[in-house]
Symmetry: C2
Subunit: 202 residues, 2 copies
């Protein structure tokens, strides 16, 4: 978490700094990003940066968290729009992510191509966590379970885990530049379809 000083900053100065950080993390992934670049771009002295953040990662995770919050809202909305159909919602969501604009796109690209467990934990707070916690419940309640082949909360939880694994992986593949947009969506649709019908014939 950024220090209090950061939040006490006059808005324009704070936004300026945030913008410089965003730019650097859009340029290269976390491990290659340099504080030097950020302060050079934001035109603040080195010491000031440390007045606001503990270190590079602190700044990165601050940005990441705001991204995640936005996507979380977006996802809940998408789920509602699709009347609780988790599969259609995921497809919408997937499409939205890989259709981001310029700067966000580069940020996301660096993010997904360098997805450490620590980052994943923050990301996944959106819709799955270690325990069946609040976020999971919120989403769980929105999901239409009528046609779902699910016995209990446990199974639902694991289904969400699977869907999230598969989605993450598809996003990564897309960002790896291995596929054009249409092919990426088709592939994802296929995998969702396979998840629905199951791997064993009845």
């Amino acid at each position: 978490m950024p220090k209090i000083t950061f939040f006490n900053l006059p808005e324009d100065k704070r936004e300026n700094l945030v913008h410089a950080a965003k730019k650097e993390f859009a340029r290269v992934p976390l491990n290659q990003a340099s504080i030097s670049n950020i302060i050079k771009d934001a035109k603040i002295p080195r010491g000031s940066f440390y007045q606001y953040f503990d270190d590079k990662e602190d700044a990165f995770f601050y940005l990441l968290n705001s991204h995640v919050s936005a996507y979380k809202m977006h996802f809940l909305e998408t789920l509602r729009k699709n009347n609780g159909d988790i599969f259609d919602a995921m497809i919408d969501f997937y499409t939205a992510i890989i259709t981001e604009e310029k700067e966000n796109l580069q940020f996301l690209r660096n993010l997904f191509l360098n997805m450490t467990h620590r980052i994943e934990t923050v990301m996944a707070r959106s819709f799955s966590e270690n325990d069946l916690n609040e976020n999971f419940r919120k989403i769980g309640n929105l999901i239409n379970k009528e046609k779902l082949n699910v016995m209990d909360e446990q199974e639902l939880f694991h289904m969400m885990q699977i869907i999230s694994s598969v989605t993450f992986h598809n996003i990564v593949k897309k960002f790896a530049g291995e596929l054009p947009f249409e092919a990426a969506v088709t592939n994802y649709r296929t995998e969702i379809y396979l998840l629905k019908k199951g791997f064993l014939s009845q």
Copy 2:
């Protein structure tokens, strides 16, 4: 790839260096590993390191590749032992990975908790690739497709993609230390079971 000089090295000196590198990459993940530590441990001058490798990553991926080759063989064997039952084979394989010994375990831990796309690409060469390539065919041929709810090679490929996503994710969770051994296996079994039966009721 290491340079020719590396392979021309007398065996003991080479193994010494490899061991030092292994030790460093078991200590910390790639991005935190330092060449300084490796050469200090291997007792070779700095210049020599660059005679053998391009950089840190070169050394890392050399080690990774040998790991992967070993696991690849192991996996094919496991698949045969299970008479082509991909699900049982995966469960065996999963169990084997999370049951590794000391140094390997730490190496794998750092690996999976910091799985970049580049690393994943190397790892996944074992049993899935962009195209339906040789490795995929080799495994595809070993898989018993009798009871598999699969229409064509395409679907089989995507099933493998899904299984691999889910497996990766389960390994990461285990290494994140969130679960004791038994719970980890149970969870993985549950997810494989869910994949088999499908998410929609017929």
